[in-house]
Symmetry: C2
Subunit: 133 residues, 2 copies
Amino acid sequence: MVETTHSDERGAICLSQPCIHPAAIRAVNAAMPEFGRLAELADFYKLFGDPTRLRILAALGIAELCVCDLGVLLAMKQPAVSHQLRVLKQARIVRARREGKVVYYALKDEHIRHVLRVGLAHLGEQPEAGEGG
Amino acid sequence: MVETTHSDERGAICLSQPCIHPAAIRAVNAAMPEFGRLAELADFYKLFGDPTRLRILAALGIAELCVCDLGVLLAMKQPAVSHQLRVLKQARIVRARREGKVVYYALKDEHIRHVLRVGLAHLGEQPEAGEGG
DNA sequence: TGATCATATGAACATATTTTCAATCGATTC
DNA sequence: GAATCGATTGAAAATATGTTCATATGATCA
C-alpha cells in the first residue's frame, strides 16, 4: 500500500523533508540511471543545445569542411568556430584531419547523425510550439 | 571546377571573407535545415542539457510524480524544481495534472522517452570519455 | 630564413542560466 | 473565514557559457 503522508519507514531518502509518495520515490530511485550517468548524458545533450554548435554539426553532417568554410557558412569569426570545434572534438563527436595548412572536420560517426535526425523528427511531430499553460 | 580562392561567382555567401571550398559551402547551404529550424532544435536539446532537468525527465519517465516528490528525489528545493518544471511544461515535453493541492507531472509523450534512450545508447557505445587531441 | 596562410589558444567581456529567498496563489479543512 | 499545505512566481545572486580581440602555432612557399 502506498502511504500518502510524509513519513517514510526506510527514512533514507525522505530525511526531514515532506514526501508525499515514498513508494513512488523508491521505485524511481531503483529504476533511474545513476546520477553520474545522467550528468554525462546532460553534457552530451548540451553539445547540441547551442545554435552555433548545432549548425556546425548539421553542416558537417552533409560535408567535410575546413574551419574557414564553417566561418563563412555560419557568418562567424574564425576563432569562435575554432573554439566550438575544440569543444566538439574533445567530446569526440567530430574528428579533425590536417592536410597541409588546412584542417578538415567531419562528424565522428553515424550515431551523431542519428541523434540529429531524432531531434528533427520530434520537431516535425510537434503540433506547434508555444505556451503550455 | 572548384576554385580554391576566396571569390565566389554567386557572391551571395562568401562576401568578403576568404572561402576555401565554395562548392562545398553551396552544397551544404542547399542541404542544411534552415537557421530557424536549427535554432528550435537547439532549444529542444538544451532542455536535456541540464542535469536537473534531465534527472526530472528521467524520473518522470518512470513514474508520475508531484513537485514535492521530485524535490526529495533530486535533493533540491521546491522552487528550483518548480522553475525547471515550468520550463519543461512550456516546451511541451511534460504535462501537469492538478488533484486538489497536489500537482502531478508526467512526460508528455513516448517520444521524449525515445530521445532519452537514444542519448543513453550513445553513451553506451562510447569507448570512454576523455581528451580528443 | 622570412613571409604568408589557416588554425589554435588565452584573457577579457558580455550574456545566459540556475538557484535561492521571500512572498503569493489555490485548494482543502477545521 | 482563518489556518494550513502544496505549488508558483519574482527578483537577486552566483555560475556558467559564448564571442571577441590579440597573439601564438604549424605548415607552405619564395
